[in-house]
């Protein structure tokens, strides 16, 4: 007890300085904080969404839809390739994730296979000469096309990454403060937007795929015939948002897609004064659009967004400048939203909202207040209880250790920017209570040793060394429990686990080391003959 090593004292003093320094920003007003020199820590506790209000969204990238879309495209590609090669075929259709067809003339079989192998699909990354689609010939002049599994997986993974990037761009355009967008698992994305308590705005901006295509309207059959089911191959019936709302028959092949846009913004039409979205194509898009419009003057084309026709104007003249405008049924707000979506790009696959949690800012503030009050009440009751139980000296020492512990927890949480949640506050209070346990173990052990007939000084030493193993054993169990919570929990539970872990570590430190240093000082100063708590 007397030969207190210097490093212990230094460590305790350093920890107090650390605690005060890093906990202080939480009570200093923001203005004063800004005027402090740059070396001073300025980070405050990082409050979770449940405490500051905000939205949490767990989105799943619908990779199945991605695959379905690829299958549809594959059918169209096969049709185009074989037509270009002038190979006659029948029974082109999807069969359980694959595409199947029958070549009419057996003599054309090898030509068909060669054409398909060379032109359909894309080169496979990491396998020179390989393609991402298998073309196999079957019995009775059948040909079967299937996707290579690795290519599908890689594509799904890429789609998730792209989605994250696009979501980020879209949310940034909303001006939300410090959003967190992270990937979770294979095909999930977590979006956390503190302060954004209107998840509808968030969802409407990230939930839309925003896949824009320009397709020719198919006028080879009348609308009545098409509705009755006589849809020509290569065309499809799409719902329309134009006045009247009658569906429209359009060709499946897209003339130009949203990827070829370089810019989009909301503006007003110079003649009608209505809100429109003005856009500009890149060079490839401009050329394609120019060619298509030149070849189809007098016909209609459809502007299709996420499977819905938003406008279907008649081509008056070739549009070669590479820019144009979409005049749908827009308000200035919805036109602006569409412009934002088009600028950020289309999501490679639809997103499904799997989990959504929103807390209003007021409720968050209430929770913070409740947390402050209950932490205060808990703290004071522990304090009073310890002083009542062990007197001003020993009780007081454990209270000092507890205060230092509190500073260390708040300081560490502020420094590491660990998220403090409402259950985390509960964890904090429990940690304070359990921190006292280490003091109690030490004090009780000292009493035992004095009773067993040891001298005061050796009883105090033994109290520490013997209580130590128990304290470590007892706290390892708490840490284990916290680690499991961290592994399996989500959101608020993780915050709780983290608070608990930091709390257990700092309380062992403060209860053991701080108490030891304080007791040693008391012993040197007072030279007591008896233990005041026996």
């Amino acid at each position: 007890m007397l030969n207190l090593s210097r490093w212990k004292v230094v460590l305790v003093l350093l920890s107090v300085v650390f605690g005060v320094l890093f906990a202080a920003p939480n009570i200093i007003p923001a203005k004063t904080l800004e005027s402090l020199p740059a070396v001073m820590p300025k980070q405050r506790l990082n409050l979770g969404l449940d405490l500051q209000g905000g939205s949490y969204l767990l989105l799943e990238v619908d990779t199945a839809a991605l695959r379905k879309e690829r299958l549809v495209n594959l059918v169209e590609d096969v049709r185009t390739v074989l037509r270009d090669e002038q190979v006659a075929f029948t029974e082109l259709r999807q069969v359980g994730g694959e595409v199947d067809l029958r070549i009419t003339d057996p003599a054309q079989m090898s030509a068909a296979l060669r054409a398909l192998r060379n032109s359909v699909g894309a080169p496979l990354a990491g396998a020179p000469g390989g393609r991402d689609i298998n073309v196999a010939s079957g019995d009775d002049q059948h040909v079967r096309l299937s996707f290579v599994q690795e290519a599908l997986n890689a594509e799904a993974s890429r789609a998730v990454e792209q989605s994250i990037e696009i979501i980020r761009r879209r949310i940034d355009a909303l001006g939300t403060r410090e959003p967190t967008i992270i990937r979770q698992g294979v095909n999930r994305v977590v979006v956390q937007a503190p302060g954004e308590s209107d998840p509808e705005r968030l969802k409407s901006v990230i939930g839309q795929t925003a896949k824009l295509t320009f397709q020719m309207v198919d006028e080879s059959v009348s609308l009545q015939e098409a509705v009755a089911g006589r849809i020509p191959p290569g065309s499809e019936l799409l719902p329309s948002e134009e006045q009247g709302g009658a569906p429209l028959l359009v060709k499946r092949r897209a003339l130009v897609t949203g990827e070829m846009l370089t810019d989009a913004k909301q503006t007003y039409d110079s003649q009608s004064g209505r809100a429109v979205v003005a856009f500009r194509f890149n060079s490839q898009g401009a050329r394609r659009f120019g060619d298509a419009t030149a070849a189809n003057i007098g016909k209609r084309f459809a502007i299709v967004l996420d499977g819905k026709v938003i406008s279907a104007p008649v081509i008056q003249s070739a549009i070669t400048g590479g820019s144009g405008q979409i005049s749908g049924n827009f308000t200035p707000e919805s036109a602006n939203e569409l412009a934002v979506l088009l600028r950020a790009g289309a999501l490679p696959a639809p997103l499904k909202v799997e989990e959504q949690r929103t807390v209003g800012a007021e409720l968050g503030a209430d929770a913070v207040r409740a947390g402050q009050i209950s932490t205060g009440v808990g703290f004071v009751s522990i304090l009073v209880f310890m002083v009542l139980s062990y007197g001003f000296l020993f009780g007081g020492i454990s209270v000092v250790a507890l205060v230092i512990n509190g500073l260390l927890i708040v300081g560490t949480m502020s420094l590491t920017q660990a998220t403090l949640t409402l259950p985390g506050i509960a964890g904090l209070i429990l940690t304070l209570a359990v921190a006292v346990d280490a003091n109690v173990l030490i004090y009780e052990r000292m009493r035992d040793e004095v009773r067993a007939g040891r001298s005061l000084i050796s009883a105090m030493d033994a109290g520490f060394s013997r209580a130590m193993t128990t304290i470590v054993d007892a706290n390892v169990t708490s840490i284990l429990a916290a680690l499991i919570m961290f592994q399996f929990g989500s959101g608020p539970v993780r915050g709780f686990a983290w608070t608990l872990t930091i709390g257990v570590l700092t309380s062992v430190f403060s209860a053991v080391l701080v108490t030891q240093v304080l007791l040693a000082w008391w012993y040197r100063a007072a030279r007591p003959k008896t233990l005041p708590i026996v």
């Binding site: 767990l58 909202v353 949690r357 429990l430 013997r466 929990g489 709780f496």
Partner: protein, 319 residues
């Protein structure tokens, strides 16, 4: 008499083990009862527990019509007409607040359903603020439940390993029996009191596991020490002695924890109320089970004593 610690008798001499048989019977009865309460009826996913949306999927809205009071009857009627699955409307804290829970009808998008419900509530109640809106899809809720159960199982398993490693297998088994006892009884209480079973409940139970172990370890530590110190003393007496010696610590620590959590239950608002009640209950249980479950299990199994054990003694605890 102050400090109060002086009031506590210096050496207590309660014969805890003498009541072990009775306590054991009571514990078994309570465990069976709790299991029945928790599991019956055998309906997935939650049996007798009042499952929150975390584990069942669905939506929770916390609404406020301040300064007016929420008309619960009108709200129920309006939502009842919407053909949502299992609508619950209940008061939540102040009279101007209410909690609305419902299931998303099969085949419909949860997000869209929430929009409809919000519109309906605004139409029925006039000015409504949505303080909280949580939507959990069926896929996620299944995963959360699986992870929660996995976490509990893993926690108990890890504790067994740790105690086995630090003590002996018998001690580990005693500790794990105590854990099962605490966790099952806590579940029974949650089912009986109709408290919501959610992610935070799992966190509370994991904390209880940590605390219960903490308590058991303190008793075991003393037990191990006394077994080495008093080689000739019968096991049941050593157990009694160890429990008595650690009793003042057990009482003080338990009281501190319950005091602190009491503050939380009183002032923490409705969200933390259930959480703190569960933890207080668990801490009381953890204290009880260290004395009446963990230690008697060791008595039942017996421990290795004598020369064999002495070989592994660290130097500092040799008498």
């Amino acid at each position: 008499m102050w400090p109060l610690i002086k009031i506590l008798p210096v050496t207590t001499n309660f014969r805890f083990v003498a009541f072990a048989r009775l306590a054991g019977a009571l514990s078994i009865l309570a465990v069976v009862g709790s299991l029945a309460l928790t599991l019956l009826p055998f309906e997935p996913p939650c049996g007798g527990l009042n499952c929150g949306i975390d584990f069942r999927g669905g939506t929770v809205l916390e609404i406020s019509t301040a300064p007016k009071a929420v008309d619960l009857g009108k709200t129920r009627a309006a939502l009842g007409a919407m053909e949502l699955g299992d609508v619950q409307v209940q008061a939540f804290g102040a009279p101007s607040s209410a909690m609305v829970r419902f299931q998303t009808p099969a085949g419909e998008s949860p997000a869209e359903t929430v929009d409809h419900v919000k519109a309906k509530l605004t139409e029925t109640l006039g000015q409504v603020r949505f303080a909280r809106a949580d939507v959990v899809g069926p896929k996620v809720s299944g995963e959360l439940l699986r992870n929660g159960v996995l976490a509990l199982g893993l926690a108990i398993g890890l504790m067994l390993l740790y105690i086995w490693f630090r003590f002996e297998l018998q001690f580990g088994l005693g500790a794990v029996m105590a854990l099962f006892h605490d966790v099952i009884l806590t579940f029974g209480m949650i089912a009986l009191a109709k408290l919501e079973f959610s992610l935070t409940t799992i966190a509370a139970i994991l904390t209880i596991i940590g605390y219960s172990m903490n308590d058991t370890v303190v008793v075991f530590d003393r037990l191990r020490e006394n077994l080495r110190k008093y080689k000739k003393m019968p096991l049941r007496e050593v157990i009694d002695l160890s429990i008595n010696e650690t009793l003042s610590r057990t009482v003080i620590t338990g009281l501190t924890a319950i005091l602190a959590l009491g503050g939380l239950a009183l002032f923490g608002g409705p969200t933390l109320f259930g959480f703190s009640i569960i933890m207080m209950f668990g801490i009381a249980l953890g204290t009880y089970s260290s004395i009446y479950v963990a230690a008697p299990v060791i008595l039942l199994w017996g421990v290795k004593r004598g020369e064999e054990a002495e070989v592994i003694l660290p130097a500092d605890v040799r008498p």
